[in-house]
């Protein structure tokens, strides 16, 4: 039988029986604490519902039900509760004439829903007991659920956290997006390389989406403009010869904590206008009929696996248009049910654009108001601007969306006309604000002149909105100062900051039940809906008993992750080592490479200088690279190659381990994050808009090693400089270096023998003996004065910060105190706070409870 480094032989018997020590540790913690959950109905009622769904919804015999069927039946039983509450909620909003808030996002990274819904409805314990009585295990059933991976990373996960917070706060908030048939690809690691596999998340169906074919809408696309006259002889552009897409809504209930409010995430699937055209079939052209259907349905087939712009991809443009057209039509229809004109539209409707992907909504609402509802242009424009608000998520120039005018004219001829008109009027404003200035109209124009001419989607979003916000204090300042200074000069009142946040329901209550129960047992004030109350933990940070339990929970979480690492990589790691975790999308600016350079440095110090780390270290990476991003995929290969070398070098022993856990996704993050000791947040300053992983890790008691970038700065302000390991260039220093062109990485390498040594190791094939030149491009990037991410500039500072962290971890009392203080000071980083700010300052919407 295969065994690895003396690890238990898991091939016999059930794997989890070998990990009894994990469940025992958690159980001990739980037994000493008391749950504070909303009152729930008796278990027998739930058993009846589950059995009924097994039999009558799924046609499965309760006696022979497979785990997948039992999961589905349980979820359907929970869904009944959700639907009841969702209908009550909608009635309440209608009766109170509440202002609705709509969050338009091309991505919603929801993850799994069963556990979250049970927690938020206050039914977790009741269902858990019911299933135990039925001889099943809720934890095992939760593993049956496919992640809804309808997003790439932070932007999509933020949207999901916001939905949770809106529902918890009782805000009438609706999400609108695409019901992708295939979510973000599944990542497999083959010989150290990333391989992408389709994510067919709907293969077993999903109980969380309610299909509404009766609410399908017609979406026109393509065609041309016929320049005609109306009955009065005025110019009347007619949009003719368009093709038809059908948008079919699928509603996902979003339960707020406490279960009083259940909002809706409406996801649209594209369908052909003729599902099965009998006429074409009867003429024998069956394939033509089916082909047209397939082409239409391609629109919602797959999520684009990149956070960079997909300009030039016609299908991506159609996706963006398709979902905003469906959403705007639905929003207007809901408004029109209780209003006869549009005078109160902006008082009743707020629409938030999550990045520029939904920016076409500006043109679509204008088209709808002017063309279909015959409003005068000025009234329509005033209404549009008062309705929309735009969130900027990136300072990276390559991620700022632009679409060729020719493509836009081809796909959306009427919208292009409207955008030209918006731009014409906007440029007149610019000229009247800065008479005689010829530069500003060119830089601010929605249309970028050049070859080809392009539509700048960020400019369209800014001009068509009353609010533009960044997502962390530093980012918002850089947006005003560097990215959009002319727009800030023109519209200073539109710009603001709304620092991102994360929902404590998923990222603490659900992901870290041990810590949640411990907090429950100690705090008198409720924390799940107000994590500013976690400051009550401050006096406990030095309490030996509290520290002991806190540490035991972390240890149990680390053991659970150790098992996952063994199961997925067959690498043994020690839960007693310092778990340093870099988990996020693989991107050069996030600098997985910097983390790796330090690991190589530490390895060489051990094997060549005989200097081991002060404590055993485990470095854990996880994240996906966009399939077309070669440099990022090479980083994954390098991580795995360095890991292979170090993990198999007998001189290293247990001093250092390096692992790459495949297929990072929400459900995996929920297991990785609670197990972290040290959270690595080391993007080049000025590149990361906010980050939210940094918040999730700190909330779960990890200390951060990070640069002064994104929300790291605000985390430092909250937890105190003494409880975080900050290093590296500031955004201003990075800017200075870029402007003065003074970056000389080869000089750093020449003057620092340890850095030269590690670069030599990479470049000479030490980690790629089968192909010694494989990683030369990595060295070339690192030694290039054009490396925009300035890896070597920050390397010495990073190594020093790591040494500091290591020394601190060697003192468990001191480390644990800092970890507790991190949890205690995360109050600012709840998405409830963020959403409250959006509601009060941008949407002017109030809770409706």
């Amino acid at each position: 039988m295969y065994t690895h480094r003396g690890y238990p032989d898991f091939s016999k018997g059930r794997l989890h029986s070998r990990y009894d020590f994990i469940s025992i540790t958690l159980a001990e913690v739980w037994m000493n604490t008391k749950a504070v959950m909303p009152q729930s109905p008796p278990p027998t009622r739930h058993a009846g519902a589950i059995i009924r769904h097994l039999k009558y919804s799924l046609g499965a015999s309760p006696k022979k039900a497979l785990p997948q069927s039992l999961y589905q039946a349980t979820a359907l039983a929970v869904r009944n509760h959700l639907i009841d509450k969702m209908m009550e909620t909608e009635d309440r909003y209608t009766q109170r004439k509440a202002k609705r808030v709509y969050y338009l996002s091309l991505e919603f990274l929801m993850g799994r829903s069963l556990g979250n819904n049970l927690h938020n409805l206050g039914l977790f314990d009741a269902f858990s007991e019911t299933l135990t009585d039925m001889g099943a295990d809720l934890e095992e059933l939760r593993e049956q659920e496919h992640d809804a991976a309808l997003g790439n990373g932070g932007l999509g996960r933020l949207a999901a956290c916001f939905l949770d917070s809106m529902a918890t706060l009782g805000l009438p908030g609706y999400g609108y997006g695409i019901n992708y048939e295939f979510g973000l690809f599944k990542q497999e690691i083959d010989n150290g390389y990333q391989k992408e596999k389709p994510d067919n998340w709907l293969v077993d169906g999903t109980p969380w989406l309610i299909h509404h074919p009766e609410a399908a809408c017609i979406i026109p696309v393509y065609g041309h403009i016929q320049h005609a006259e109306d009955r009065d002889g005025h110019y009347n552009p007619m949009w003719m010869d368009w093709k038809t897409l059908i948008g079919v809504p699928h509603d996902m209930p979003i339960a707020g904590y406490g279960g009083k409010t259940v909002n809706t995430l409406r996801l649209y699937a594209a369908r052909s206008s003729d599902d099965f055209d009998m006429d074409i079939f009867n003429t024998g052209d069956y394939l033509k009929a089916v082909e047209q259907k397939m082409t239409s349905e391609t629109v919602s087939k797959v999520l684009y696996p990149s956070d960079a712009m997909e300009s030039g991809r016609e299908l991506r443009l159609i996706q963006e248009y398709f979902f905003v057209a469906c959403a705007i039509r639905d929003i207007v229809a809901r408004y029109k049910r209780s209003h006869t004109n549009f005078d109160a539209f902006a008082d009743q409707v707020a629409i938030q654009l999550n990045d520029t992907h939904p920016a076409l909504a500006v043109a679509e609402l204008m088209r709808l108001l002017v063309d279909e509802h015959a409003l005068e242009w000025d009234q329509a424009w005033q209404t549009t601007c008062a309705t929309f608000a735009y969130t900027n998520h990136t300072l990276l120039p390559e991620a700022l969306e632009k679409w060729p005018v020719s493509l836009m004219e081809h796909v959306l001829p009427r919208h292009m006309q409207i955008i030209f008109e918006i731009n014409h009027r906007f440029l007149a404003d610019v000229q009247s604000r800065w008479p005689g200035d010829t530069q500003r109209p060119a830089t601010m124009s929605i249309i970028e002149e050049g070859h080809p001419k392009q539509v700048r989607m960020a400019h369209l979003a800014i001009v068509g909105s009353h609010s533009v916000n960044g997502v962390a204090a530093l980012h918002s300042e850089l947006v005003k100062k560097d990215l959009l200074p002319d727009f800030f000069a023109l519209y200073p009142d539109r710009f603001s900051n709304k620092t991102n946040g994360v929902t404590p329901r998923r990222w603490l209550l659900k992901a870290n039940p041990g810590l949640a129960k411990l907090i429950d047992s100690q705090l008198k004030r409720p924390w799940v809906t107000d994590i500013t109350n976690l400051t009550d933990l401050v006096p406990l940070s030095r309490n030996p008993d509290f520290q002991k339990t806190f540490k035991a929970i972390k240890q149990a979480n680390k053991k659970r992750l150790s098992k996952i690492i063994w199961d997925t990589t067959r690498i043994v790691v020690s839960p007693d080592s310092l778990f340093t975790i870099h988990a996020k999308r693989i991107h050069e600016y996030k600098r997985q490479l910097l983390c790796l350079l330090h690991i190589i440095h530490q390895y060489l110090a051990l094997v060549e200088d005989g200097i081991p780390p002060k404590i055993p270290r485990t470095y854990i990476f996880a994240g996906k690279a966009a399939p077309g991003y070669d440099a990022a995929k090479r980083i994954i290969k390098l991580i795995n190659s360095v890991g292979d070398t170090i993990n198999n070098d007998p001189r290293v022993g247990n001093h250092i381990k390096v692992v790459f856990i495949p297929d990072y996704r929400v459900s995996l993050a929920e297991k990785i994050i609670p197990a972290a000791d040290l959270s690595v947040q080391i993007s080049t300053a000025g590149k990361e808009a906010s980050g939210t992983g940094n918040m999730k890790f700190a909330l779960n008691g990890a200390l951060t090693i990070g640069t002064l970038d994104g929300a790291n700065i605000e985390i430092m302000e909250e937890v105190g400089q003494e409880n975080i390991f900050i290093f590296g260039l500031t955004a201003e220093e990075v800017h200075e270096i870029n402007v003065s062109r003074t970056y000389r990485p080869w000089e750093i390498a020449e003057n620092t023998p340890t850095i030269r040594r590690l670069l030599d190791a990479i470049g000479s094939g030490r980690f790629s003996p089968d192909d010694p030149s494989r990683f030369i491009p990595v060295c070339e990037t690192l030694l290039s004065e054009y490396d925009p991410y300035l890896h070597l500039a920050d390397l010495r500072g990073y190594i020093a910060a790591q040494e500091k962290a290591e020394a601190c971890y060697a003192d468990p009392v001191r480390w644990t105190e800092k970890a507790i203080l991190n949890v205690a000071h995360m109050g600012k980083f709840s998405s409830d706070r963020t959403i409250r700010e959006y509601a009060e300052e941008i949407w002017h919407a109030a809770p409706c409870l």
Partner: protein, 112 residues
């Protein structure tokens, strides 16, 4: 395309017997109406009451008929249901064609 036609005074009334007006019927429709126009029927009420789906081909055919009628004639629409009306608005054809709730109203308007 199956159409029912009648004449009331100087007004020629066309009623569609198809529920869908799309690419499959648009060419036939255009040809048949052109024939009626060429026969001297230049004041036309097109009753679309039986149509519950119209696409851009159908709309294009109607526009083509309007052009064929010319400035001395008129083509008006009657009894459009919500879906059909929304397609007229989408293309801004509602600003080109007079649209009446009932066939009777349309005939009366054309007769005066």
């Amino acid at each position: 395309m199956r159409l029912e036609t009648k004449k009331e005074g100087g007004v020629f009334i066309i009623r569609s017997l198809e529920s869908r007006m799309d690419a499959k019927v648009a060419v036939d429709f255009r040809a048949e109406i052109a024939r009626h126009i060429d026969d001297g029927n230049k004041h036309i009420v097109f009753n679309v009451g039986g149509i519950n789906f119209i696409d851009s081909s159908g709309l294009g055919a109607i526009v083509s008929c309007l052009k064929h009628v010319g400035r001395e004639g008129e083509l008006v629409i009657a009894e459009a249901d919500e879906t059909v009306l929304s397609m007229f608005k989408l293309t801004r054809m509602d600003r080109v064609f007079r649209i009446y709730e009932t066939e009777r109203e349309a005939i009366q308007a054309m007769s005066t």
